[in-house]
Symmetry: C2
Amino acid sequence: MFSQSAKYAILAVLYLTTYSDKERKKGISEISENIDVPAPFLAKLLQELSKKGFINSTKGRGGGFYMSEENKNLSILDLIEEIEGKKKLTNCVLGSSHCNPNHPCALHDLVYDKNIEMLKHLKGKVLSEYAKEIENGVSFL
Amino acid sequence: MFSQSAKYAILAVLYLTTYSDKERKKGISEISENIDVPAPFLAKLLQELSKKGFINSTKGRGGGFYMSEENKNLSILDLIEEIEGKKKLTNCVLGSSHCNPNHPCALHDLVYDKNIEMLKHLKGKVLSEYAKEIENGVSFL
DNA sequence: ATATAAAAGGATATTTTTATCTTTTTATAT
DNA sequence: ATATAAAAAGATAAAAATATCCTTTTATAT
C-alpha cells in the first residue's frame, strides 16, 4: 500500500511528533535506532522533508530534526502526498484515466470507494493525535 | 495500491473471463489492444499466469489464451496473490512484524481494518461476476 | 511434408526504488 | 580561533520492477 519510503517517513514523522520539539531536537542515529530504519536512507529522507518544510532541522553542533508545533497539526495524508505526489492516491486502482463514478472500472465500487474512505480518515486525524496515543501506550511505533 | 503488473494482470484476466472460453481463444495482440497494455510485457505476464494454471493457453496455429470455466470462479484476490505473493496483503501497513489488534501500530485502526475489509470484498466476488457486469455495460475495462 | 501462426523460453535493456558513502556546510562549545 | 558535532549535498551502488527483443517449440492448415 505505502512505498518503503512512505513507511519510513511516517514512522520518522510520528517519532518526531511524539518525542521532539524545538527544544528537543533528535539526531539521525537516535531516530533510526528507535524506528529501525537504515540511518543513511533515513538521512536522505529527512533531508528532503526538511527542505520541503514538512519537518524542521538545524545544522551544527546540538542540531537535529524536530517537528514545529504548527507542523504537528498536519495529517498523514499530507505527508504521503509530500512523498509520493499529490494525485496518485485518488487515481483509478486499475490505472484508467476515464474511470469515474458514472463510468466505473470493474473494481471501482469494490475498491475505489473504500480507498477514498480510508484517505478521508488519514486526512481527518492530525499528527499530534497519533502522538498522544503513542504516549499513552494505546498504539506503538 | 496494486503494482503495474497486477493491474495489467487484472485487466487481462477480466478480458479473458468476459470474452474467451475454450472455443474462443484470444491472442496477445487482441488482448493488448483492448486493454491497452504493452504487448511484449503482457506476453510475459500471461505466460507466467498460464504456467501457474491461473489462465489456460494452447500453442500453435489457432492457439491463444483463454479462461477455463473452472478458473472463472476464482477471485481477484486469488490473482493478486498469484502475482505478488501470498502474505504481503495482510502485512502491517507500516511494516511492523509485531503489529496486531492487541498491539496495534499507529495506523492499525485507521488503515488496517479498512484494508482487510477491502480484501474480503476482493475475495468474495468471482471473476465471472465481474464479467457479467462488463457484458451488461455496468462497468468497463 | 511444409508453411504458418501462435505461445514459451531466454537474454537483455531501461527505469525506479532503495540504500550507502564521502565531502561540504554550518552552528556551537571550548 | 579551533575543534566538534550535526545536517546538507552529491555521487554512486544495488536491487527490483518494468519493458523489449530474439529464438525455440508446438499445433494446425494446406
